[in-house]
Symmetry: C2
Amino acid sequence: MAPTIRDVARAAGVSQATVSRALSMPDLVRPATRARVEAAARELGYRPNRAARGLITGRTGNLGLIVPDLANPFFAAVVKGVQAAARAADHSVFIADTDEEASAEADLVRALAKQVDGLILCSPRAPDEELASVGADTTVVLMNRVAGDRPSVTVDNADGMRQALEHLAALGHRRVAFVAGPRTSWSNAQREEGLHRSAEAGGVDLVHVGHFPPQFEGGVAAADLVVASGATAVIAYNDLVALGLLSRLGVRGIPVPDAISVVGCDDIGMSAMSHPALTTVSVPKRAAGRATVGLLLSLLNAGPDAGPMHRELPTQLIVRGTTGVAPISPTKGSSR
Amino acid sequence: MAPTIRDVARAAGVSQATVSRALSMPDLVRPATRARVEAAARELGYRPNRAARGLITGRTGNLGLIVPDLANPFFAAVVKGVQAAARAADHSVFIADTDEEASAEADLVRALAKQVDGLILCSPRAPDEELASVGADTTVVLMNRVAGDRPSVTVDNADGMRQALEHLAALGHRRVAFVAGPRTSWSNAQREEGLHRSAEAGGVDLVHVGHFPPQFEGGVAAADLVVASGATAVIAYNDLVALGLLSRLGVRGIPVPDAISVVGCDDIGMSAMSHPALTTVSVPKRAAGRATVGLLLSLLNAGPDAGPMHRELPTQLIVRGTTGVAPISPTKGSSR
DNA sequence: ACGTTGGTCGCAAACGGTTTCAGACTTTCG
DNA sequence: CGAAAGTCTGAAACCGTTTGCGACCAACGT
């Protein structure tokens, strides 16, 4: 059986209260007794029971993280950031995967709410009003989206899109396609909007290609539409979609970037491994994870009126091999 | 403030003891009072505090999972399986990422041990003796390796290798390279050994190509060695390594599978997205995750003498596009 | 010499549940 | 109709920790 605070107290010849103080408020006890307590604790290998502590302090030292899909490399990177930051702050993190089902989300929030100090919600698809109701019990911070006045950390999607579009415009592209992600995705909306603004400002034609699932297969399905649209460049909602595009273009023998330039978004690991390597707008996934627990922790420690409730992280275009100068005569119409 | 059991008791006009019984041992209370209690609980939105319950029952309802790298799609899939199974059993899971550092592992185990009923350890690299010492406090089950008599769930790596090698032999390959993973990896050792046995039995030459990090870059680095070895086929430790091979072979203009056949291992999602799609031996990652929590839970519920302590899941070769009949004259020596 | 500090430390009451034990209330049977 | 047996229920102890309050002691100022 694991040693309790009573065991340490007995071994050190003091009361439990003194042990507790010696360990967590060291300057309230005389150095001599503190040393005795510490020695006894070390000797017995005592580690305080966090559940018991949480019972009385109201703080569990646990964080919760809810993501739509752990197998998605984007979220995997975010999770790593969250995990590292939580660990640095001596917190543990519960993780839950909704499997892209919004209905599971509310259940998970309820299940976790009691066991954590705060919750990080990665919920790209759920409608605003649903998010507003969820989690009245715990403090929750949103990641990668905003909804109402919920605290959140996001990335500057619009600016990323601007960078991508200006890059393409500088290469001479005048007609650019955007392969949209899920209709209900918050970040997709952000990216679309940023793109429209920049396109108008830069005088390039923006053609909107349907909504596709944010996966490789989505890109495969979208490729032919993009080609038929006569665009000389395409920006994908996602790196996965971009890779799907690349794959399908390869099958059709359409050279990238000579006939069509492709740029992705997110900069997931495997985007550097494609052929040619994918030009993409990089979003700081790990940093976003870290920033989110930072925000959450400051919220918990300092109350809701400490510092800004929203943080927006910069994005950055990374030019690799899939973008090049526009072909002389645009491949308008049937290109093959 | 969240309602406690006392609030429910007051609302239902009974004592806390009755509320506790009505909710967790329903047939010990008269149906009428049970109904009153349930109504009151629902009315107030009462949810028992798991920490408080754990304090007295000794069970927290939490599981811990330690993996070397969440961003590795292999582990991401495992985590999904673990998470789903835990949730189905009404447990939550703590997750921790060691970032491939064995030293962090012991710390994490210690940190988590107190907060969980059981621990799942995914520790491919740590030496056996280190694993033996770790986690005397909690019940831990190993995943994807065995060490001592620790309970574990693994996959039949050797048989997977046999399938791969027989497939290649049937295609006429007589000289096959194996690109080895990390020297200290348990599953790498398993795969090597299975391969050697099958190679001997099947009369094919097996050439062992160095140890490489189990990533895309490892495959890129290994490719030239493979080509120089004169092998007409290569089996990679990993899908990631296999994809790296594919990429480098593509750059060098060596056609796959016409000049060289490639087979990977794990069947991670993106292996179906390569060009051509990767032939690979599929390991049931989700199922392994589920099986591991199944084993862990049965260990917790029935004690250590219930059922087998080890489970081995089958692997299966998935033939896709990167394997074909051996070239007539093997590309021995400089091929280009 | 004596109240007043100020610094240490112990006692005991929480926190929110579960579980033992015994009492109260039925029911059944002689 | 009374006692024995059985069924429900409540009081209280307990899990391991924190913390308010008071006791004790040395030093200090007057």
